[in-house]
Amino acid sequence: MNPQDLALTMKELEAVLMVSAEPISSERISEILHLSIGDAEKALELLSDFYLRHDRGFYIQKVAQGYRYAVPPDLSQVLEKVALAKSPPRLSSAALETLAIVAYRQPVSRSQIADIRGVNSDYVLKMLAARGYIETDTANPKPGTPLYYSTTPLFLERLGLFSLEELPRVEKFAPASDVAEALEASLFEGTY
C-alpha cells in the first residue's frame, strides 16, 4: 500500500472498530474494507503500534478471534465510577479445574471429565454451560453418543485470549519429577 492508501485505511479501520459491538475478526474487516486478510492484519498491527507508541487512553485488544477497542488496566481503575461493571462471580476451584480440563482436552465427554477429576462433575458442567463458558456439540444428536464439551468464544473473552493456541502450555504444569517421585514414594512405599 502507498502512504496515502495506508492513511485512509487506518482512518477507515478506526471507524470500523469504533462502531463494532463485539470483537471483530480480521476476515470481516478485510471484507468491509476490501483488503486481503493479510493487509487487514497488517493495518491492525500498525494502528495498534501507533496507539501504544503515543500512549493513548485506549488500545486495540486482540481477544476471542477478533479485535476491539479497550481501555488498558492502568486506566480502568480511574474509570471504576463510569463503568460500574459488576464483575461476574468468581469461579470456584472445582469449576476452574473442570474448565481447565475442557479447555485442554476439548472435545471431551462428561464421563472422561469425571474420570480425570475422580468425581461426578455434572453440576459443575451444567453451571459452566449456563455461564456460557462451555457448550456441547449440538450438531451431533445421534442416539447413544455422549455429549462432547468445548469452550466458547466467551471463554476466550473472559480469559483475554485471542485463540486457544494462546492457552499456557499444559506441559509446563506437569508436576516436576521430584514431586512425582515424592507422590510415588508416599503412595507405594511398603507395597513391595
Binding site: M18, V19, A21, F58, Q61, R68, Y69, A70, V71, P72, P73, S76, Q77, L79, A83, A85, S87, R90, L91, S93, A94, L96, E97, L99, A100, I101, A103, Y104, I116, R117, G118, V119, A130, G132, K142, P143, G144, T145, P146, E157, R158, L159, G160, L161, P168, V170, F173, A174, P175, A180, A182, L183, E184, A185, S186, L187, F188, G190, T191, Y192
Partner: protein, 263 residues
C-alpha cells in the same frame, strides 16, 4: 472457605493435607482417619447447610488417604503369580498417572484465575451503528425462536425448593414398551443383520431408543443375537442367530423380559 481439619497429628485446610503428605511433612502412620471423619461430621452439623464443594473435597481426600493407609498397613510381598504382579504394577502406575494429571489441571487452573482477573481489568469499548445505518442491518432476531429466548434464561432458572415436579419432558403420547420391543424383534428377524442405528431409524424419541437398547440386551442374554462393536462409540452391529419366534414365543419373550409391564 476450605474446611479446616483438626486431626491428631495434623491441623489445617483439608486441601493442603494431601500435598503435605506427599511432601512427607505429615506422617501417614500418625494420622487418624476416623478422627478426621468425626471432626468433619461435627463441622457439617455446625454448618447446617451442606456445602457441596467442601463435602466432595473431603470425600476425595479422605478416600485417597484411606487407600494410602491401607497400602501401607498391608505387608509387602510378591504374590508369586507374575500376571497378578503385572496387573498390580499396571494399576499402581495408572493411579499415579491420574494423580499427576489432576494435579496438572489443578495447577493450570490457577493460571486461568489470574488470566480472568487480568482480563477483567481491561474495559471493552462496545460500539454501535447509528441511524440510518443501524436499520440497514439485517434483523438481529432472525432465526431466534421463542424457545431459544426462554432457554437463555436457563442460568437464572433455579428451581425453588419444594416446587412441583416438572413433567413437561415426558412424551404426551406414551409409547407402548411392548410394541417397540415387538417391532424391533420382527424387524431383526426380517433383516437378519443390521446396525443398531438402522434398527432404531424410526424411533422418534430417546425413550424408544432406550427401550430398543434394553430389548437388544435381553435378546443377547438369551443368545438369540450376536452383538459386535469394533471400537468405542463405533457402529453396533446386531446379527440374528436364533430360530425364529412363533407368535406365542414372541409373546412369551416379551412377558418374561418384563416388556409388557408398562402397558
Amino acid at each position: 472457605m476450605s474446611y479446616e481439619v483438626e486431626a491428631e497429628g495434623y491441623k489445617g485446610p483439608i486441601g493442603l493435607l494431601l500435598s503435605l503428605i506427599t511432601s512427607q511433612k505429615v506422617d501417614l502412620w500418625e494420622l487418624s482417619v476416623s478422627g478426621l471423619v468425626d471432626d468433619y461430621l461435627n463441622e457439617l452439623e455446625r454448618m447446617r447447610v451442606l456445602d457441596l464443594e467442601i463435602a466432595t473435597e473431603f470425600l476425595v481426600v479422605a478416600s485417597t488417604l484411606l487407600e494410602l493407609k491401607c497400602r501401607r498397613l498391608f505387608p509387602s510381598q510378591y504374590s508369586g503369580d507374575l500376571d497378578e504382579d503385572f496387573a498390580f504394577f499396571e494399576e499402581r502406575d495408572l493411579l499415579l498417572a491420574r494423580l499427576l494429571e489432576i494435579k496438572t489441571y489443578r495447577d493450570v487452573s490457577g493460571v486461568f484465575l489470574e488470566l480472568i482477573d487480568k482480563a477483567a481489568k481491561s474495559l471493552p469499548h462496545a460500539g454501535m451503528l447509528d441511524e440510518p445505518y443501524a436499520s440497514m442491518m439485517p434483523d438481529l432476531l432472525l432465526g431466534i425462536t421463542p424457545e431459544r429466548l426462554a432457554n437463555s434464561l436457563a442460568r437464572f432458572a433455579i428451581p425453588e425448593l419444594g416446587d412441583f415436579v416438572d413433567t413437561s419432558h415426558l412424551p404426551e403420547h406414551p409409547v407402548s414398551i411392548s410394541q417397540v420391543a415387538r417391532d424391533l424383534v420382527l424387524k431383526l428377524i426380517d433383516i437378519r443383520q443390521c446396525s443398531f442405528e438402522t434398527l432404531m431409524v424410526q424411533a422418534s424419541t430417546r425413550f424408544e431408543v432406550v427401550v430398543g437398547f434394553l430389548a437388544v440386551l435381553e435378546l443377547y442374554r438369551q443368545a438369540r443375537i450376536l452383538i459386535n462393536q469394533e471400537n468405542s462409540l463405533g457402529e453396533i452391529v446386531i446379527e440374528w442367530i436364533a430360530e425364529e419366534f412363533s407368535t406365542d414365543e414372541l409373546d412369551e419373550f416379551l412377558e418374561n423380559s418384563g416388556f409388557h409391564l408398562a402397558e
